[in-house]
Symmetry: C2
Subunit: 232 residues, 2 copies
DNA sequence: CGTAACCTTGATTAAGATCAATTCTCGTGG
DNA sequence: CCACGAGAATTGATCTTAATCAAGGTTACG
């Protein structure tokens, strides 16, 4: 793996080459194929991950096997870093578990595992990493706030919110085209519904000429209607 | 107000008397009556709050006026601290908004407002405040993860989860009695439903002798049934 | 007491989940 | 290059849950 990827990780942007080297030499690269579990929420916590290539979903599973996706994670972003700061002593003794499940969404998904003890070592000498961590956690909190809000307001609304946010993120804002980064199944789970209902909802939007869907490519034909849907 | 309350705030537990004094002298005590808004999510962010007395709810409002409670906050806990770490420059210029709305739930709710600039001053000299902050945010993240999971699984389940968690928190674990800290309206909103549905759900549990409800007092008669409900 | 806020109840409606088939898509091997 | 098959996506019919609408009851407190 190219070591320089570490420099692109926002968390580590203030570190010098020695420190990066230290992280690099103490961490493990892990590869996963599509559908492979990275960790279960029942499993002892031993560190957090950085996505290098591919993508990952973080989700909960209810006892009946239904899954609820909480986050999607893409390259240079971290996940499962929050537990580091709860119950230090338990973490060290590996008596703490991961807060949710995670699965690779693509073949050849590459991750770096940063073990807790390695990270604590780095943190001690670089107090301002904690500021970056705070910033990262804050963003996740804000995201979850919004997510809670959106899933509790119906499928159409949740879908409209998702589409508009994706459009926002994609460079093609003018072209009004978005390319889904995830499967429709995962999208359904993310907006709090099931495959069939998502399918029907997409169909409804298409019938009203709001969007047009071809595989993972979605044209936004009437952004204004989506915006109106969001505002109910 | 008794200054010593600041010592009970976990965030400040490492500070010396000078620093506490500094915070105290630079912060504002605010009082609210039940139902009064503390801030709106449209409002410029100028600092975070500590609950001294009373209680507070954090919630989102959809355009049709429906509210969704995200958190309840009780004495010695902080709220709205996450934005401090997003976009420092914007915060300073007060170009950032609060992430949600907040309202006092009781008469004579007393809060301390810690202004952003005051806090940045303290933070600079006390790097390990940031570790406490991280710990606080991590807990909130974990809480939201669980909350998302529970609200997307039906009212009975959400209610069962809430009741069990309250039982866990209350000292009376053996007596199997819980005293609701919040109104039924807020509880309904918190578990993602409306008053009528919550009422019916409570009734259903009572008919099955799982609980008995008298005002805000709830006896848990068959904890095992609640646990089974959670596991579906 | 009286009134307002809070809570409960019943009847109805709407949204979405479930179940059961198909159809579509795409990678693989013949 | 085509045929096959598995996984993904769609469709229809039905069922369940919870939201809505509209009254009533209760409770707390001045």
């Amino acid at each position: 793996m190219d070591k320089s990827i570490l420099k692109k990780v926002n968390l580590f942007s203030d570190l010098n080459d020695d420190e990066l080297e230290k992280i690099y030499s103490h961490s493990t690269i892990k590869k996963f194929n599509k559908g492979e579990m990275i960790f279960f929420e029942t499993e002892p916590y031993n560190g957090f991950y950085i996505v290098i290539e591919g993508s990952v979903k973080i989700f909960k599973i209810s006892k009946d096997g239904r899954e609820h996706v909480i986050h999607f994670i893409f390259p240079t972003n971290t996940f499962a870093e929050a537990p580091l700061f709860e119950q230090y002593d338990k973490i060290i003794r590996e008596e703490f578990t991961y807060p949710a499940n995670s699965m690779a969404l693509e073949d050849d998904t590459k991750l770096i595992l940063i073990r807790s003890d390695v990270f604590y070592g780095i943190l001690e000498k670089n107090k301002n990493i904690s500021l970056k961590m705070l910033s990262g956690l804050s963003k996740k909190l804000r995201h979850l706030n919004n997510h809670i809000d959106s899933i509790s307001q119906g499928v159409s609304k949740g879908l409209a919110i998702y589409l508009l946010k994706e459009l926002e993120k994609s460079g093609n804002k003018d072209k009004n085209i978005i390319e889904l980064q995830i499967s429709k199944h995962d999208l359904a789970s993310y907006i709090g519904t099931i495959d069939e209902t998502l399918s029907r909802c997409l169909k409804k939007f298409q019938e009203n000429k709001v969007i047009s869907v071809k595989g993972k490519t979605i044209h936004i034909l009437q952004k204004s209607v989506l915006e109106k849907t969001v505002k109910l």
